[in-house]
């Protein structure tokens, strides 16, 4: 069991209390490719933040690969994020004044890996994603798809247990979106990476093997989805 969520509750207390997650129970196995679908305000981003140890939960239990994640200090949380989780964001979240390769190296820098070794590794991952020629470029010199691929390389370099992607195609055009989803699918199939994608686009979720529907802080139905061509959104790769 990679992820085990048991009765997770989360309330935001800014002004009037807002009960965002109302008892989430979810299990995700090693090697699954899951999407969490929901409209805005459904609590899907909060759930992802909790999965990514970016945010705390109030009650319940969250174990990630056998480790109980609860009330961690910022320092411990940072270490877990660094070693166990790879993030892919909608807005890429690359550091602007660093080149592609420097951005990819950064997680290793926080692991204390020496300069030479991390550069070699970063170049390896960039090569895997077909970005060798762009290694020395700054994010503002790259297209959205290239930026997202750099971000994926950065997420992969620490060999994390799970990849969390928050609307990974939200800022991309449809063609690039397809490429990025293909990439994630391949990672899942070829390397057995556990990937969780949060999205509100059914075309994106259609690419995943399991779709978790969340609405008003409660998980609705969980559908297995192996026939990626079945959905009308999937035809010809048009997701939007």
């Amino acid at each position: 069991m990679m992820i085990h969520l048991k009765d997770i509750n989360k309330t935001y207390n800014s002004g009037s209390p807002l009960h965002v997650l109302k008892g989430i129970n979810l299990d995700i196995e090693q090697g699954e490719f899951v999407s969490i679908m929901g409209s805005s305000g459904s609590g899907k981003s909060t759930l992802l933040n909790i999965l990514g140890i970016l945010d705390n939960y109030d009650t319940g239990e969250y174990t990630l690969n056998g480790t109980l994640i609860r009330n961690l200090s910022e320092t411990r949380a940072a270490a877990y994020r660094n070693r166990m989780i790879g993030f892919i964001f909608q807005s890429f979240n690359l550091i602007n004044f660093k080149t592609a390769v420097e951005n990819v190296e950064l997680p290793l820098f926080y692991q204390g890996v020496n300069r030479k070794k991390r550069h070699i590794m970063a170049m390896e991952y960039l090569e895997k994603l077909g970005l060798t020629d762009w290694a020395g470029h700054y994010p503002n010199e790259m297209s959205g798809g290239q930026k997202q691929r750099v971000a994926i390389a950065r997420a992969l370099i620490t060999k994390p247990q799970i990849i969390l992607a928050d609307e990974p195609t939200g800022a991309l055009d449809s063609k690039t979106s397809v490429e990025v989803m293909e990439l994630l699918k391949r990672l899942n199939q070829d390397e057995g990476m556990t990937i969780i994608v949060v999205t509100h686009e059914s075309g994106v979720s259609n690419e995943t093997n399991k779709i978790v529907h969340i609405k008003d802080g409660i998980i609705g139905n969980i559908e297995e989805n192996f026939d990626h061509e079945a959905s009308p959104f999937g035809i010809n790769g048009i997701m939007k």
């Binding site: 970016l54 940072a78 993030f87 979240n93 602007n96 004044f97 950064l106 820098f109 926080y110 300069r115």
Partner: protein
């Protein structure tokens, strides 16, 4: 460490304006402090060197006019000092007074050698004049006790006068006889002309002068060195005792302050030192406030920097940066920037002081009659420079620490939302 420096280098390179502004605030603060203190020291040193020309614990007494009617005599009477006053000074104040001297002047004396001549005023002095006026004897010697006892016709002339009388080598003048009025005087010494004073006198023994120029028992000035008077109050008390004693010799009221003219070089230097202390303090206060504005500049920019980079810190945290590594990043950046620019400002400040020293550092105001030093050695000790720079670096670090701590504590989820 090398990684951190690389990190900082890339941040700095991408925030040139911000770095330049911070750097300017820091460098300017240090520069102004050092420059200001240097200029102030220049003024203080010059004043000190001007006032240090006389022996500090010496007093000069001259005659004046009575301002009070006393003992049946009207006010406005001239008092002139005489031998009795010298004796009184010698005998009545043994507690404080060490050596007593007196002078008597004769102006418009022509000194000539062959067909060369110079005109001067001739002052009859005691041997201790040398010490009290801190004269430098270039060649020969000053008037001595034997000259005084034997009323020898010897003369000590200034370097400038010597050049008028001997065009080639003034040393050869020593031992030669020159004509002073109608008398032959032997030149026994040549003293270094001090152009910061108007008088450029020739000196002869007090006793000789009195005899030759029929001064009777008159003396123009009495000079003496003293000891045991450390505070201004003690000096004032001594002065009034002395005044009362001398006044009584001239039938002037004991408390008549204008019957005698007294120049206490010790109290003068005390006051001067107090004044200099005030100036020095004022300079430091201004300097420290300049430094403070530098510190405020640094903290201001650090505050903005941290706010601007909140999102970046959020990204770093999301991919595994610990709060301590964020804190270290900001603080090391702050230290490096303040150190670099603080050092730059310090070097520039020292350079400016050196430039000032080289150009107007020995500037003298020449009025034709005398020269006065206006500016002397306008520099600051290296220790002060380094201390000031270190202060700024420490303050800059503290200024960076507060926003840095805030940034280190912010939750990544909030930091990622920031624009």
């Amino acid at each position: 460490m090398r990684d951190i420096i690389q990190e900082i280098y890339s941040t700095v390179r991408h925030n040139k304006l911000r770095t330049a502004l911070t750097g300017f605030a820091v460098a300017w603060g240090i520069f102004m402090l050092i420059f200001l203190l240097g200029a102030g020291n220049g003024l203080i040193n010059a004043t000190m060197s001007n006032s240090g020309r006389f022996l500090k614990n010496s007093m000069m007494v001259g005659s004046g006019q009575t301002s009070k009617a006393y003992n049946g005599l009207k006010e406005g009477r001239r008092v002139s000092l005489n031998d009795k006053d010298i004796n009184l000074t010698n005998t009545n104040f043994k507690q404080n007074i060490d050596e007593v001297g007196a002078t008597v002047d004769q102006s418009g004396v022509t000194i000539s050698l062959d067909n060369l001549y110079t005109s001067s005023s001739l002052t009859g002095v005691y041997p201790n004049k040398l010490k009290m006026d801190k004269m430098d004897i270039l060649h020969g010697r000053f008037i001595n006790q034997l000259d005084l006892q034997d009323k020898r016709k010897v003369i000590v002339i200034s370097q400038d006068q010597a050049k008028e009388l001997e065009l080639k080598d003034i040393r050869t003048l020593v031992g030669k006889n020159v004509k002073v009025g109608n008398f032959a005087f032997c030149v026994v010494g040549i003293y270094k002309s001090d152009r910061s004073e108007m008088n450029n006198d020739a000196y002869a023994p007090f006793s000789t002068m009195k005899t030759i120029y029929n001064k009777g028992d008159k003396a123009d000035y009495i000079e003496y060195t003293f000891h045991g008077l450390t505070s201004e109050a003690e000096n004032t008390a001594f002065e009034s005792r002395y005044r009362a004693r001398i006044n009584s010799n001239h039938d002037a009221a004991p408390d008549d302050e204008s019957a005698l003219w007294m120049w206490n070089r010790f109290t003068q230097s005390l006051q001067m030192e107090t004044g200099m202390g005030v100036i020095r303090k004022a300079l430091w206060i201004i300097g420290l406030f300049t430094l403070l504005s530098g510190i405020v500049g640094v903290s201001n920019i650090m505050l903005i920097t941290v706010k601007e980079r909140t999102r970046e810190f959020g990204i770093r945290k999301a991919i595994g940066a610990k709060p301590s590594s964020i804190l270290r990043l900001i603080i090391v950046e702050s230290i490096i920037i303040t150190t670099f620019f603080g050092y730059l400002g310090m070097v520039l400040g020292i350079a400016a002081n050196q430039y000032m020293d080289a150009t107007i550092g020995h500037m003298k105001v020449d009025s034709g009659l005398f020269q006065a030093t206006m500016f002397l050695n306008p520099t600051v000790g290296l220790d002060v420079c380094i201390e000031a720079t270190l202060t700024l670096i420490i303050a800059g670090t503290l200024a960076g620490y507060i926003p840095a701590r805030k940034a280190a504590r912010i939750r990544p989820i909030e930091a990622l939302k920031a624009e």
